[in-house]
């Protein structure tokens, strides 16, 4: 057990995986000698060797294709895409190939790749370093989509993702890498060490895919969130003094529908929060599911708090980022509505 921030926890997960299984290898842009632009793979090449963690050409489709070929051979590649904003060139390989391979080959070939990529805003990255593309993957049958919100989960979920025989899109909220940011950009950021989930076992453990976590029990309203928005939701619950139950989804596909419906049936109210643009975001699916499963329990319209339907504009970082004020307002509306 050690205190780790999210970068360290992810690094530890990969270190454990590389040590346990010679079929695990890591590649991506700048991940080798340098250790990645966010330092997540730091030291892994040195510790495990040149062919276990290495740099790639800057061609995301080629990187993922290489991973699919390796996975079809029998390896278990961990692929880093430097920013989620740069995953689109690889979209065809992910959607048409990785996601379909098991099905279309009748189970003959599989593509157990894990695609790690930092996503989300809060770093003044402008429109090409801030995007949240999760809904583009949740729509694709054959993919699993995972988003951790703290170091403990990050490590346990990443190990699960790599050990899972399906292709997994593993989105890392980059704003959380170094601290549990809650969206109050004008208040000091807490270090991870002040958060209980920074206590991370050194060795192997898993957080299973498909299980949400109730990170704040409550009776008045259910908040569904993931990634950095979990911390924003927590801040809003505190700010608003509303007895919100905050659920950290952790895995979007497969979704933990039971935890969600149990909570909404109890509270009768639901607020969904994500950073991605609102229209056709994953919040839409959550809203549809909640209404399908809990219609007769709902006492107010389900609220969505999300990124505006615009590109992420550099100078308006904090006007765009869905912060605690917007979530608080939604909680209030849900309580009144």
């Amino acid at each position: 057990m050690a205190i780790m921030n999210m970068v360290q926890a992810l690094n530890s997960a990969m270190d454990v995986l590389l040590s346990r299984d010679p079929d695990v290898l890591i590649f991506g842009e700048d991940v080798g000698y340098f250790g990645g632009v966010f330092r997540v793979t730091e030291g892994l090449q040195k510790r495990h060797g040149l062919t276990r963690c290495f740099d790639t050409p800057i061609g995301e489709a080629g990187i993922v294709a290489m991973g699919i070929g390796m996975a079809a051979y029998g390896l278990r590649p961990i692929i880093e895409i430097q920013f989620a904003d740069y995953i689109y060139p690889a979209y065809d390989q992910i959607v048409s190939e990785a996601a379909r391979l098991r099905y279309r080959s009748g189970g003959d070939f599989t593509a157990p790749i894990t695609v790690r990529t930092p996503y989300g805003g809060g770093i003044f990255g402008g429109q090409t370093h801030s995007q949240s593309p999760e809904a583009l993957f949740t729509h694709v049958a054959g993919l699993k989509t995972v988003i951790p919100s703290n170091p403990y989960d990050a490590k346990g979920l990443l190990i699960s993702a790599v050990e899972c025989d399906d292709p997994v899109i593993f989105l890392e909220p980059k704003r959380l890498y170094n601290g549990p940011f809650n969206g109050h950009h004008d208040r000091p950021v807490q270090p991870w060490s002040a958060h209980p989930a920074s206590q991370v076992p050194d060795g192997h453990y898993v957080v299973p895919l498909g299980q949400a976590a109730i990170v704040r029990p409550g009776e008045a309203v259910t908040v569904l969130a993931y990634g950095a928005m979990v911390h924003v939701a927590m801040a809003a619950a505190q700010d608003s003094e509303i007895d919100a139950e905050v659920i950290d989804l952790r895995t979007l596909i497969p979704l933990d529908i039971e935890t969600i419906t149990a909570s909404v049936r109890k509270t009768g109210r639901c607020v969904i929060v994500h950073e991605a643009t609102r229209t056709s975001g994953f919040g839409a699916e959550l809203s549809a599911l909640v209404q399908e499963h809990c219609f007769h329990h709902l006492e107010a319209p389900i609220e969505r708090v999300a990124g505006w339907d615009t590109p992420y504009p550099h100078a308006f970082e904090w006007d765009y980022f869905p912060g605690p004020a917007r979530v608080t307002a939604a909680l209030r509306r849900a309580m009144e509505g």
């Binding site: 290489m66 070939f109 899972c164």
Partner: protein, 409 residues
């Protein structure tokens, strides 16, 4: 610096359209046996000429000549001939049943049988192929059971892919045949990854991949060559230039001012350009590339220069966009006829044997067809909807289980 000449846009046009005489005058036909065979450890930069020439072994008289003659045993030649003929008979049988409305779609490889068959034979049985939809000859040359192939095409209970794929999109790990994707090109770069995995593990198996002239314009082609060059992947990268994509000729794919083999040069990879209708030349070039890869010298790009003698697929009517007689005027003849002539010239084969073999493979196709056609549909009264929902994931998640329930309702 600037002048006032107006710019103009160039749109490439084929030599002939329907109603015009086929015109292959711009296609050079170099003599067989003219090119030397470089050592496998040659510097790619020293063999640029091979990207523009054409490796040919079988001459006009059916003799095997020159340094590229692979000197195969007559028995191997007869096996190759049989596999090519079975491929053609199979294609014709499946085309017919498509026309009868018994299957939804089919893709023939007529005229290109030497590509898949000779390459399958030149590669090791353990090497993994990443084919397109026009390399059914790989499966046939490797002895994949014909009933399974046909089962896939019939999409019925004989289908090892459980009805999930369009006919012709086979998959067989056991026979070293990677699952065909309907999306062009995607498998080309995957093959490089597979080959890298083999190298990573210290294995001895190679990958071989195929792509059409048209599909070389896809990104995956560029990624395959880039990654293969960077990591010296043990892979044979084959471009089947059959002159046509669907209705667009190879000039639209970028073949008007250069060859497809030449693409390799810029990546520092060696390129061989081969008469794709010459079984021996294809075998020899593939062997060279495989030897090079096995010696840890990395990838080779082979352009197989051939002609798509029939429609793109059963959905296509080539007489709408090219002269109907173009195929018969292809200057490099037919691969089956050429190999048969060679065997006869060697004194190892006869016209009678040729006729017998034709009858045999056609009979085999017919008989298999009857057998497979008798199998029930997947979703008929004896079937089930299960294969629609399984293997999307390794384990079925709740939402799919629920949807399955609803479907079976």
């Amino acid at each position: 610096m600037k002048n006032s000449l107006p710019l103009s846009l160039h749109i490439p046009q084929p030599a002939a359209r329907p109603g015009q005489e086929p015109d292959f005058s711009s296609v050079a036909v170099p003599p067989a046996g003219a090119l030397p065979r470089p050592e496998i450890d040659v510097e790619p930069a020293d063999i640029h000429a091979f990207a523009y020439g054409l490796i040919r072994v079988l001459d006009e008289d059916g003799q095997a000549v020159g340094a590229w003659n692979p000197r195969l045993a007559p028995q191997a030649l007869r096996e190759g001939l049989r596999a090519m003929m079975l491929t053609r008979a199979y294609d014709e049988g499946m085309y017919r049943v498509q026309r009868q409305g018994k299957i939804s779609f089919y893709v023939k490889s007529t005229g290109e049988e030497a590509v898949a068959v000779a390459q399958a034979m030149a590669l090791d049985r353990e090497d993994m192929g990443f084919p397109t939809y026009r390399q059914q000859g790989l499966l046939i040359a490797r002895g994949y059971p014909l009933p399974l192939m046909m089962g896939q095409v019939y999409s019925n209970q004989g289908d090892p892919l459980k009805g999930r794929q369009l006919p012709s999109m086979y998959s067989s790990k056991a026979y070293g045949f990677f699952s065909i994707s309907g999306n062009l090109g995607t498998q080309f770069s995957q093959a490089v990854g597979w080959a890298m995995a083999s190298a990573y593990r210290g294995d001895t198996r190679l990958a071989a991949a195929w792509i059409g002239d048209g599909a070389t314009a896809e990104a995956d082609f560029h990624h395959a060559l880039t990654f293969a060059s960077v990591y010296r992947a043990p892979v044979v990268l084959n471009i089947v230039n059959n002159q046509w994509a669907i209705s667009s000729f190879q000039g639209i794919a970028g073949g008007e001012r250069t060859t497809f083999a030449a693409r390799a040069i810029g990546y520092g990879l060696p390129a061989l350009r081969v008469d794709g209708n010459d079984f021996l030349a294809v075998h020899a070039a593939t062997t060279w590339a495989a030897e090079r890869a096995r010696a840890n010298l990395g990838a080779t790009v082979i352009e197989l220069f051939t002609y798509r003698a029939e429609g793109h697929s059963t959905s296509d009517d080539p007489s709408r966009y090219r002269p109907a007689s173009e195929a018969s005027r292809w200057p490099f003849g037919d691969p089956i006829e050429r190999l048969s002539r060679h065997l006869i010239a060697l004194g190892e084969w006869s016209e009678d044997q040729q006729a017998d073999l034709k009858a045999e493979v056609e009979g085999l196709v017919k008989q298999t067809q009857r057998q497979v056609e008798a199998l029930p549909p997947l979703n008929g009264p004896e079937g089930s909807l299960e294969p629609m929902f399984t293997e999307v994931y390794q384990d079925m998640p709740w939402h799919l289980a629920r949807q399955r329930q609803e479907a079976e309702g």
